[in-house]
């Protein structure tokens, strides 16, 4: 199997890198799910929207760093808007209804993003944001392995974010309240947890995560709504890691990333290629059959 060992190393590296990027999308998703029980389909779109805002503003002549600040501001406004117009009136509704509402958000964001910034793909302003460019090429194993610096940066940033968020959830007052809200809106209301405030916090955090994700993804390819289809890959990552687990997002991401790259690389050609499009789901499914709540998800309570 290992006819070209450098390629195996490279494959694993690529898998890890895409895993980190999937995990970043999944992370924003986990945040929202954990805090409100909402299966936020719009997360992928939020990633594009955030990046598009950043790049779009820059295109309009705003300096890069200011654009970054403004983009964060836009994500805050978005969080407030979502809370005010979607979540608040839909409090205590079944999950699937909220899920559906996030489709509405998806549409609104696509419409808004393209209306304001135009539909043509844009280049990420990675240089202006002081992101590293280029690659480190390691000669090894009779070939070479190339590590993109931007990927390394992405991994570092993702690790930091995930550590911070995991701590936040398990060990702070707000974190506990978030988990309570995810469990039951009604009960959370009754003990005086301010859903409105919590939701704004969470959606804003998810928005910032989306912005970071958007910058990373955008630096690899370009920024357009086509990118949002990749965001779907976050879904198998999520079910593998568990909807409610921050560490699950990263572990799930890595497993899926490496799994699908290796699968495509070694077995893809046997069946004509392109199996990456569904392999991730089957990997996740296989894990799920043994742990229906994902690797790190909250146990499904069955009691009567």
């Amino acid at each position: 199997m290992v006819d070209a060992p450098d390629l195996l190393v490279q494959t694993i590296w690529e898998g890890l890198v895409s895993g980190v990027l999937y995990a970043l999308i999944a992370l924003g998703f986990v945040l929202i799910f954990k805090a409100s029980g909402v299966f936020n389909f719009a997360q992928g779109i939020m990633v594009v929207f955030a990046a598009l805002t950043l790049v779009g503003l820059h295109e309009m002549g705003v300096p890069a760093l200011l654009a970054l600040v403004l983009a964060v501001g836009v994500m805050f406004v978005l969080a407030v808007g979502v809370e005010r117009f979607v979540l608040r009136p839909l409090v205590n509704q079944p999950d699937i209804i909220l899920f559906m509402a996030t489709f509405g958000i998806t549409y609104v964001l696509i419409g808004l993003g393209e209306l304001v910034f135009g539909g043509n793909p844009k280049q990420m302003i990675d240089e202006q944001l002081f992101l590293p460019k280029g690659a480190i090429e390691l000669k090894m194993l009779g070939g070479f392995v190339s590590l993109q610096k931007i990927d390394i940066a992405a991994a570092v940033i993702a690790a930091a974010m995930i550590a911070a968020l995991a701590f936040f959830f398990q060990h702070t007052r707000i974190g506990r309240a978030l988990r309570a809200v995810a469990d039951s809106h009604k009960a959370a209301l009754s003990v005086g947890i301010s859903l409105n405030q919590i939701w704004v916090i969470v959606w804003f955090t998810a928005g910032v995560v989306a912005l970071v994700t958007g910058i990373m993804w955008g630096a690899r390819s370009d920024v357009s709504f086509a990118l949002s289809t990749i965001a779907l890959k976050a879904l198998p990552v999520l079910i593998l890691g568990g909807f409610t687990s921050v560490p699950g997002a990263i572990v799930g991401g890595l497993i899926i990333g490496v799994g699908e790259k290796i699968g495509e690389f070694y077995w893809g050609p046997l069946v004509g290629g392109g199996i990456e499009s569904w392999l991730a789901y089957f990997i996740a499914l296989a894990f799920l059959l043994f742990r229906p709540q994902g690797l790190f998800g909250e146990k499904i309570i069955e009691r009567i």
Binding site: I96, L109, I110, L238, I239, I275, Y281, L288
Partner: protein
Amino acid sequence: MFYREAGQYKTSYAADMAIFPLLQDRIGIAVILAVLFVGVPLFASEFLISTVMIPTLVFSLAAIGLNVLTGYTGLISLGTGAFMGVGAYACYKLTTYFPGVNIIVWIVASGFFSAAVGVVFGLPSLRIKGFYLAVATLAAQFFLQWCFVRVPWLYNYNASGAIEVPLRTLFGLPVTGPNATPEARYLVLLSIVVGLTWFASNLVHGRVGRSWMAVRDMDIAAELMGIRLLPTKLLAFAVSSFYAGVAGAAMMFLWYGGGEANDAFNINQSFLILFMVIIGGLGSLIGSFFGAAFISILPTVLKFGLPAMGVPLGGATAEHITYLVVGGLIIFFLVVEPHGLARLWQIGKQKLRIWPFPY
């Protein structure tokens, strides 16, 4: 005022169990059917039939299918598009192998193939629940979609890689292929939809439907009452995929008239059907129709309606605004009534009943 059930007593269980127990409702249904079968083909324009009526009917069928699964059994599926695709390809293969058999038979029969595929992908539902299952059904979506491209046998190895719809006739009249008039295709489709809706309605109102709903509402209790979960869920998958399959075949053969099936049955299609079910009302057949009409007509109305009303919009801007408006309306309707258009309709009827009093 006119919508009162007062004085309509049921003297037998059979009468009480009728699906439309009220006389007014029965008359209403008769009128609607008459309009659909006679009025529309006679008076509606070709554009109306082919871009409004036919798509709505196709989607209604798919939505009914998904409603069986999601609305009645509580299993969310994001693979409807792919199951529709299975139906389309099954129909294509069947009609090329057996061109002698009437196409309508094959359109309906293709449902069995997607039912079988649906059952296979429904197997994990025993262990996996909720959104986890929803995402797991994406495996079906992407895998099947991959097959549609990768297995040339499915599209008869033709160069375009697309389903090519041959000319087929019913009573000498072309019903598929480019020569079939929209009216003919519409009537065939309408008959299929009406028939299958009747079946669905019978199912959900009887033992089968009750077991589905029991599993949906409280699976543990259902199991403790002797309802076996796996067979019940698989049956839901089968029936649901059957409807999706027929919808897919109908879509290719009676609406699109062939084309790139891989593209037509993609993930967005699955999402769209789910929209319809939720917007229309989970667990409501009539809701499936409302939802299908809403989602399939709204963009068309906005796209062609706004300019017609004199709102001067460029194509792209209109499209962006359409996105905005559709998204906004989805949220708006959910906020107004999370249980969907069907519930709005019901409340409307209820208000009519107690009219002129507010409650």
